[in-house]
Symmetry: C2
Subunit: 147 residues, 2 copies
């Protein structure tokens, strides 16, 4: 029996509209529209000191779209098998993170502001962290693999 | 018959949570919760040159919460009778703007980023602008006052 992960969505960039004129720029995301889900919660990160890491967890069911509104950062994702790295440095590009992907935000430029749209309210039981808890949970989802 | 405006919500600050630790700050807004409405759309403004003005319209039905995530600005509101001025300069304080209030964003500090949560999708017919169109529309809502 294969140990490949269950079929699932993958993290992916979402290009967002940008309306630019002499007054500056406007971008938006809405559902239905570029957001893959109904937006229940918006959180945002700011004042991250150099060298800090945010995230470092996965979600059982929550979907997220991450948009860097000022500055830049790197988002590293992990599905239990493979790491991927995404660069976010413009407000008209978001990153969709599906459930069951570990995610870490690192390498914040000074004064970076990160907005995260969420498909649900804060539910503590939905979080998987630290990494071993995530890997243990993923192992229970492998078809044909006993715990 | 009084010419007082119809009873309605007023613009008001909304204090939002802020979780601060050695990794930086996290604030959030969700519905049900601090958001007075289900969040259908999020837009954000960035790259405003010095001296620019954004907004300068009212909505027939749309509700908004404005949060300045970086920098600062002044939001001026008008109900057809009285102007009010609100200062937004911290990510853990939002400003709720009910329907039927004219709103203008001005005095942007350099590199200001403004996030606006909306109770509905973009609907062109919901906008009232320029100011005279807003005032004409408001006049039609005055009790006991013929057009």
């Amino acid at each position: 029996m294969s140990e490949a992960p269950l079929p699932q969505n993958s993290p992916r960039y979402i290009n967002l509209p940008r309306f630019a004129d002499e007054r500056g720029n406007l971008s938006f995301i809405q559902y239905p529209g570029d957001s893959p889900f109904d937006i229940k919660r918006v959180f945002y990160l700011y004042g991250m000191p150099e060298g800090s890491t945010r995230g470092a967890h996965a979600h059982k069911t929550l979907e997220e779209v991450i948009v860097v509104l000022h500055g830049s950062c790197i988002v590293k994702t992990y599905d239990g098998h493979q790491w991927q790295s995404f660069s976010l440095d413009r407000p008209d590009r978001g990153l969709y993170i599906p459930p069951l992907y570990w995610g870490e935000l690192t390498e914040f430029a000074p004064d970076t502001v990160v907005m995260v749209l969420c498909s649900d309210l804060f539910i503590a039981e939905d979080y998987l962290s630290p990494l071993q808890e995530y890997l243990d949970y993923m192992a229970t989802l492998q078809p044909g693999k006993s715990k």
